[in-house]
């Protein structure tokens, strides 16, 4: 009988940090910490292939923020790691946004040292970003934003970061790469009052060091 270790990692190299989450069951796994501000929902979805529901609300207020992360336990290398996420959203307001990224953040909101995918309404296409301590690169993909699940992934080494969407290489950046160790972060937010909730779902995420 085969070990999980040996089918997922070459024996010639020591395995680094690695995690996989299918976002199933009655509650979010304890390895995530959450930030749940304002109204809306951050809970497992009772629906086929629903994963985790991250939804803003239509309630008047200062904004809804739904964030999951590793509480600043940053096991992943900014010079050699991979993330893969199955994520979707359906939004109807011009202030809605989301990011699926690897980030160093030490505060509630990611403001530096990260790479990954984002959509800030009223963008038309999904975009890939990288940022060091001060400057962000944002590269639009060729894929129009829609409300279907997509496979968003990224890979970074010491010189280059690449963004893949549904398996296709969409974006490459060699400047403004993150300079500090990373954790997975998924953010959904709406900064002002809006009439239609941003309904996001994540049903798979995997990260590992190279």
């Amino acid at each position: 009988m085969t070990s999980y270790y040996e089918i997922t990692h070459p024996l010639a190299k020591l395995r680094g940090s690695h995690f996989i989450d299918h976002f199933d069951g009655g509650s979010l796994r304890a390895w995530w910490s959450t930030i749940n501000l304002g109204n809306g929902t951050l809970a497992m979805a009772d629906e086929v292939d629903g994963g985790l529901r991250m939804a803003t609300s239509t309630t008047t207020g200062n904004g809804d923020w739904k964030i999951i992360k590793f509480n600043n336990i940053r096991s992943f290398s900014n010079t050699g790691c991979v993330f893969i996420a199955n994520f979707k959203f359906s939004n109807g307001a011009t202030t809605d946004a989301w990011r699926v990224i690897m980030a160093n953040e030490a505060t509630n909101l990611v403001i530096n040292d990260f790479f990954g995918w984002k959509f800030f309404n009223p963008d038309t296409n999904f975009s890939f970003q990288s940022m060091n301590a001060s400057t962000v690169n944002s590269v639009a993909s060729t894929v129009s934003a829609d409300s279907s699940f997509h496979n968003f992934s990224g890979i970074i080494n010491s010189t280059t970061v690449r963004g893949y969407l549904d398996g296709n290489l969409e974006c490459i950046s060699t400047s403004n790469l993150p300079t500090a160790r990373l954790q997975p972060v998924v953010e959904v937010w709406s900064s002002t009052t809006h009439s239609v909730a941003n309904e996001a779902r994540i049903k798979y995420m995997e990260c590992f060091n190279l």
Partner: protein, 207 residues
């Protein structure tokens, strides 16, 4: 689309297995920590490839042990254990594998266990006990240092094989455990100084 089940088991019926990567905000709730004396602790580290750090109690000869709270689902004569680990190599010991003990330390020889033991003295190796007598065979591939290592124990009814850092290392045929087992990860202090042991991967399954 192929299932993970089919990759791991083919057409066979699956047996008990746990895979632990020690990532994220906190230690998975399947683990229970206890001390043989004093008060130790553990935490997931905020560092690249850091895993979990287990700090032994500040009491001579005391251990901090992570285990499955006495839930013993692993077979003493047909199981495999894989670990990635390191220790600070100061004044204590690291041990990991499978044990029958529900409290206390598996190092005394009066409980059934099988595991890898690394200390600052020359008795490092593959250790086991049949509940009456404990003994150890030496490792060759790994010496006392502060580097990450990986080890694999194949436990059968009449022998146990140790693979260390990818190569065959040792075989043990005496004093093998004879009862059901649970995982254990141990950090033990001997005489002075803090002892910290780190793990970033642990897998055990029945074959």
């Amino acid at each position: 689309m192929k299932s993970l089940y089919e990759i791991l088991y083919g057409a066979k019926v699956a047996k008990q297995r746990v895979v632990e990567e020690f990532t994220g905000d906190s230690l998975d709730e399947r683990w229970t920590g206890f001390n043989t004396a004093g008060s130790g602790s553990e935490a997931i580290l905020d560092s690249i490839n850091g895993g979990v750090a287990i700090t032994a109690p500040a009491t001579n000869s005391a251990s901090r042990i992570l285990a499955f709270n006495g839930i013993r689902q692993y077979d003493f004569n047909s199981s495999v254990v894989i670990s990635i680990w390191k220790y600070d190599n100061v004044s204590g010991a690291i041990a990991h594998g499978l044990m029958n003990e529900t409290a206390g330390t598996p190092l005394t020889g009066t409980e059934d266990y099988i595991g890898v033991f690394v200390t600052t003295n020359p008795s490092d190796g593959l250790g086991s006990s049949d509940g009456a007598t404990g003994s150890t065979v030496s490792m060759n591939n790994i010496s006392s240092d502060t580097n990450w290592h990986w080890t694999k124990i194949h436990l059968q009814d009449t022998f146990a094989i140790l693979v260390a850092d990818g190569s065959f290392d040792a075989v043990k045929t005496t004093n093998l455990p004879t009862v059901k087992l649970q995982p254990f990860l141990e950090s033990r202090r001997f005489t002075s100084g803090a002892t910290v042991s780190n793990f970033r991967y642990y897998e055990v399954f029945n074959t």
